[in-house]
Structures are given as C-alpha cells and as structure tokens.
C-alpha cells in the first residue's frame, strides 16, 4: 500500500518527497502550490478524516510549516482501502513574511476552527475562510502569541510588572 501510494504520488505530482516511518506514518512534503490538489487527491483516495491541521513557526528558515494530518475511517474492506492505522502527514512551507494560504474548508469542513485558531495564534491568513474572527484570545497582541519571536516571559513582565525575587521585596 505504502509503496503503491508512493509511486502514484511521484507520477502525479512534481517534486514531492515521500518518506515512511516504522510506525505506519507517511510524511509527504509538497510545494504549497500543489497542496490543495494533493489534499483533494488524498480525500478521493480514502483519507477522509482530517485529524489535525497544525502550524509550526520555523523562524530560522523564515517560514511557517503547515501540517495536515490525514487518516481514514477504516470502514472499507476492499483491496484499495486505506488501512485505519495509516497516518499521512502532509507538510508545506509558506514564507514567514507573506503568511497567506488557501483555506481547505471545502475539502475538509472540519478545518474551519483549526484555520481560525492558526490565524489567531500564528497570524496566518486563509483565503476563502469566511469567519477568521478571534477564537480564544480577548485582546490584541503586537505579535501573534504562538510565534517564536513572542516571548511570553517578557510580555508578562511588560504588562503586569516584574515580580521581585524572594527577599528583595520591601517590608
């Protein structure tokens, strides 16, 4: 199954890199221009469950990595069926200074809150998402708080004042 999927992918998409891990996990790294087509391909192929949409701030590489984790509901038993234990990790990097990507709501409707969350915490904009309103936070931050250059300790000290070390306080 893994080998067949690998061949099919390399024939259909240019420049994808496919690696498989021992614990039944396949990682596919793809150019952002092809991500949407790739996700559609996987959905048609039986990976009907978007388990998680995540973002990683790769500050040293000046990029954000979007991570789509796909699995199947394992209800088919035919020959082409995707085994339930298979986990597919699709990764694409987008530039950090232009953090915009296409929404995948029309492929996986449950991506809606994930995209909202990533928009709020990482400042990545998703085109085609109708409701990028704040999800968790109640105030605006100078830098989206889950980015690596947001220092939580400094933020707390700036906003709430520094806490004196034990023995330093007056009285």
């Amino acid at each position: 199954m893994i080998e067949q999927l690998k061949r099919e992918l390399e024939a259909t998409f240019k420049g994808v890199s496919v690696t498989s891990e021992a614990d039944r996990r396949i990682t596919v790294v793809v150019d952002p221009l092809q991500t949407i087509a790739l996700l559609r391909f996987f959905k048609d192929r039986g990976f009907s469950h978007l388990a998680l949409l995540s973002a990683v701030d790769l500050i040293d590489k000046h990029a954000f990595e979007l991570v789509y984790i796909l699995t199947s509901y394992a209800e088919d038993t035919g020959e082409d069926a995707v085994p339930g234990e298979l986990i597919l990790v699709v990764k694409s990097m987008i530039p950090r200074d232009k953090p915009t990507f296409k929404s995948v709501i029309n492929i996986y409707p449950n991506a809606e809150p994930y995209e909202r969350e990533i928009h709020e915490l990482f400042g990545i904009h998703f085109d085609g998402h109708r409701r990028l309103t704040p999800l968790f936070l109640e105030r605006q931050y100078p830098i989206p708080p889950f980015r690596k250059d947001f220092d939580t300790r400094r933020y707390v000290e700036d906003v709430f004042g520094s806490i004196p070390a034990i023995g330093d306080e007056e009285g």
Binding site: Y108, N110, T152
Partner: protein, 377 residues
Amino acid sequence: MNGTSGNKTSGSSRELELYFGPQHLGMVGNFSITLKVEGDRILEARANPGFLHRGFEKLMEYRTWIQNFPMVCRINVIESGSMEMIYSMAVESLAQIEVPERAHYVRSIYLELCRVSSHLFGLWAYSNMLGFDTVAQWAMYHRDLILDLLEELTGGRVYNIFIWPGGVRRDFPKGFEDRIVETLHTIGSCVPDYNTAFFDNRIFYERSKGIGRITQQEAKELGATGQTLRATGLKFDIRKVAPYAAYDKVEWDVPVREDGDAYSRILVIRDEMIESVHMIFKLLEAMPQGPVYNRIPNPFKWKIPPGDTYVRCESSRGELGLYLVSDGGERPYRVHFRTPSYTNGLILLEKLLQGASIADVGNIMISLYVVAPEIDR
C-alpha cells in the same frame, strides 16, 4: 419608532440574540454559545470558547520534557489518564524508548479505570441535566470509588501523573488487583438499578430520543470521533484500529448504536463502561510479571533527537492526538493537541443546534460529551 425602517437584520423582527453562558446549568463548564432565536427555535448558534485558554501549548515550549506533565494533565480535567498516555507515547516515539510488557497492561488497566470514572461523570452530568437527581448521585458516588483506587495507586485523585515515558511510575501495590475487582463488582452490581431508574426509564427515552440526531455521513464529513460517531453505527475506535498499550492482547468489542441521537450516544457510553469493566478483568488475568519501568536519561539534561511525530489514542471522548516536534533540544519545539471536544464542541454543536429548541441546548451539548478545557487548552 417605526420598527421596519432602517432595520438591517435579514430575518423577521421577532429574531432575538440569546447568550447561553457559563453560568447556565445546562452548560458544560466554562463555555458559552450565542444563539439567534425566533420564539423557541434556534436559527443559528455560535460557540465561544476561550474562557479556559491558558496557552499550554506555548508554555510547554519553555519547559523540559518532564516538566510538562502537570500541564498535560490539566488539558482534560475529567480524564487526565489519556492525556498522560498521549504525551508519553509521543515522547517515546521521538526518543525511541521501549516500554516493558507488564507496563502495557498496567497502562491499559489504569486507562480503563479512568475511562469508567469519566463516563460515570458524564452520566452524572446527563442525568442531572434531565432532573434524575438520584441517578446522578449514584454515578458521582461510584466515580468516587474509582478515584479512591486511583488515589491509592498514584497519590492523586484527579491529576495523577502516573504514566511516564518508559512505563508507569510504580507497580500495583500489594492486593491492589483484588481491590479493583471488588470495586468494579460493587459498581457492576448496580447496573440493574441504573437500568430501571434511568436507561429503561420512559422519561429518559422521551427526553433523548431523536434529540441532536446526526447521520453517519454527516458525522464523518465533520470529523467526528468517539461516541458521536459510534452512535451512528460506525465501529471506529483507535484502540481497535491502531492498538496501543495492551488493547490487542485481550478480546473485547466496540459497542455501537444506529440512530445517531442523544439516546444512542448515552447508551453507547453505558455499554462502553460495561465493556471496559470486562476488559479490566481480562487484562488482570492475562497480566505478566516483570518490571514496569525502563529508565529514561536524567530528566534535567534530557535531549531528544530532532524530528516530529503524530500519535493518537482513544480517550473517553474520541480520538485524542498529539503532534509533537523536537529540534534536538531539552524542550519541545512545538506541541499541538488534537482533542475530540474541539470538533464536537465547535463544529458538531453549531450544526446540531440549528433548528433545535432552546430547551434542548444543554441536552445536545452534554450528549456530545464536550469538556471545555480540552477545546481551549
């Protein structure tokens, strides 16, 4: 004032916005919904999470691999066992740590105890919401008996931090197996009472049948897992699909129902509890002797090789996943939890509330088994 001129709302003038906040009895803890209603009927629902957003995933980037355990537990307040499990699984996967055979069994037994206690809490919430106070008190009492067991085993009643990378923190104390069996028999002997008073009760049936109904197709489309999905007839359980711990070592079955409504979801929870108890008995019988812990390196200087992993397990609410990234340092580089309540509380809830009556908001919400801290993290 003339009510029609300058009115920008699209619906009728009888439309109202109703805030269904955390102070409401039918609400599952710190969570709120903004409802647009016309009379008694809900036109649109908007879930507002964030009351419990503590930024754990960011804070975990500042703490060492082991220091993160107290935060991991607090993501699901009701059932911390599966949170410890998922974090340990991810760390073990990244650092290539093996777990001894006996530890797998101890983990499974512990996780099933946590599942039963969590389901009893869920039963308390649901029966209490419907006005079955007696049944709610029974469920709370029986949950407490399991918390006593957990206290003896781990020292904690709610946050246990028992599962650890490389195994579990300690083996069962002397005679603990007998006390598990005794406690589960005490709870099990009350199942007929629960059935008479609640599950076979006409009022429960009338009040939950057809409420918050969802088809299997819709559930899959919206990413549902756990009871919500199993109540629509699909046998999907991570413990079967991708077995971990000792779940592939004994025979057990995944309970399902066909109708996809609140009634089916609550009955799936009941059947799961019974199945878990049987599973614990089988695990206790099959459990081998041996060590329960493989030593990990010094936690203060522990560096984990760079890489990323996604692991998943079946918590009491559905698929729990963790995407964990290491850059080769002493701390995680990125942590992201996939919690079952996230999908249930933000997507399914909004969908199921459309067209429902105001009186059913709590009913739908509790039957979806949403736990608010899991959404916010």
